[in-house]
Amino acid sequence: MLRPVLYIADKLKDVFTDDARYRTIDSTRNQFKVAYSGIETFNLNSGNGYSYEKTVTHNFGYVPQVLCWGYSIKDVGSGVVGIDNQLSIFPFNDYVLADPTKKLFVASIDKTSTYVKFKVYEDNTEIYGADPQPASYELTGLKLRYLIFVDAEA
């Protein structure tokens, strides 16, 4: 049985004679498509326990592919932790001064068959032998940018 196809090639490439990787559109292959996307602005402070979560309920019945990027932290001088407003890909950790006297900054994703949860928080773990224990730091104006694809992990 014949199946209609849609091929579109890169400029200066031939859809029939050049390798398939030069097709920008190829209906014989799945192309990853975004179901949900967004930008979130949030703070970490004593009011929220230095923890932020953004939950997107998708109810796909399978675990989707996800990409997320967000701001991290930096030393803004005199040991004060501030926001680094450049975007890094999730998941990641950050320390200021590579020193556990400030709490570990965690950027992470939970993915399930019904929701995706983006998490940014300061880790409250007590550090062995540290005196004093790690201190929290307030951050105002953190951001994260996410894409949740309709396409499954496998």
């Binding site: 920008t24 559109i25 990853f32 399978y62 890094s88």
Partner: protein, 313 residues
């Protein structure tokens, strides 16, 4: 009420009248992230034993979405570790303390390791943050399919489909199942690598997922905050990719929490996808590491990691 034209194409064997979005190869009601460039970024090393930097001025005027892969000849770029011939590529996020970062002018990594090789940036036209002034739509001078609203006045990245740009086209998806045998380690035989592989059927190293297992590897002790019996006998890598970053402080919480370490890596080269698994016994005694079944749900895309292009040039 205005009528909106849409383009939907079902995956092979599916009926467009009855399927959901996941079974459509193309669906203009959902946007396709648009890849405008793959760029090789080479590390700059000014003096030995000093941080090696990566910088690329992308020219977009806003921070574009990106993912990165890193070329390695040796595991950890360390010549005492297993060598890869041909070279392999792994997803990259940056180190524990030095991230890869994107701003409105540059992609930056302030310390990618003393012996780091080339990195490859997969750059999307879509912004991480909206620019103060939206760019003009571009011309193409070649047949073009573009679907979206107000196409003459909005940036190309606002279109749901634009055939000028590359997309994440799936070559194959499957699960790699790795049967790790039990291993009796000793004070002499204290480190073991097991490698598992699957041919991807392309003749170039392809962009691949899962995203997030980077060149430092996935530390299973941190993922499960334990060792040996704390790590399941059967687990899926995709389920724990983020757990390592949540468990990072476990090494700091206890004095010497373990002497038995398990780490895995994911790589591609021009013919295969690899999972490497290392078990390490630092107790100076005997220890049996249990058998495990390690599964990874992978996606191979029809896009070379190491073939540069720029569709805006």
């Amino acid at each position: 009420m205005s009528i909106r034209a849409i383009l939907e194409i079902a995956k092979s064997g599916e009926d467009l009248r009855t399927i959901g979005a996941v079974d459509k190869a193309l669906d203009s009601t959902l946007f396709l992230p648009k890849i405008y460039a793959v760029k090789k970024v080479s590390p700059v090393r000014t003096t030995e034993y000093e941080p090696t930097t990566l910088t690329y001025a992308h020219g977009r005027g806003y921070p574009p979405m990106f993912i990165t892969y890193r070329e390695q000849q040796y595991l950890w770029d360390n010549s005492s570790m297993p060598e890869f011939d041909p070279v392999r590529y792994t997803f990259e996020t940056g180190t524990e303390t030095v991230k890869q970062k994107m701003n409105s002018t540059n992609f930056i990594n302030e310390d990618c390791g003393w012996y780091s090789r080339d990195h490859y940036l997969i750059l999307f036209l879509n912004p991480l943050e909206d620019p103060a002034t939206a760019p003009e739509p571009t011309s193409h001078n070649s047949p073009r399919l573009k679907i979206g609203e107000d196409l003459r006045n909005t940036p190309d990245y606002e279109a749901s489909i634009d055939s000028k740009y590359q997309t994440l086209k799936v070559h194959t998806q499957d699960q790699l199942v790795c049967s790790l045998p039990a291993w009796n380690s000793t004070d002499v035989d204290y480190s073991r690598f097991d490698w598992f592989e699957v041919a991807h059927g392309l003749d170039y190293p392809p962009v691949f997922a899962p995203f997030g297992v980077d060149s430092s590897g996935l530390d299973l002790n941190l993922c499960y905050q334990g060792d040996l019996a704390d790590i399941p006998s059967d687990f899926v890598v995709n389920d724990i990719v983020n757990k390592m970053w949540e468990g990072r402080n476990w090494y700091n919480e206890f004095l010497n929490p373990t002497e038995f370490f398990e780490t895995l890596w994911l790589f591609v080269d021009s013919s295969k996808l690899y999972l490497g698994y290392r078990r390490l016994n630092l107790s100076f005694g005997n220890q049996t590491f249990p058998a495990r079944t390690v599964r990874v749900n992978y996606t191979i895309f029809n896009l070379p990691i190491n073939e540069e292009f720029n569709l805006l040039s």
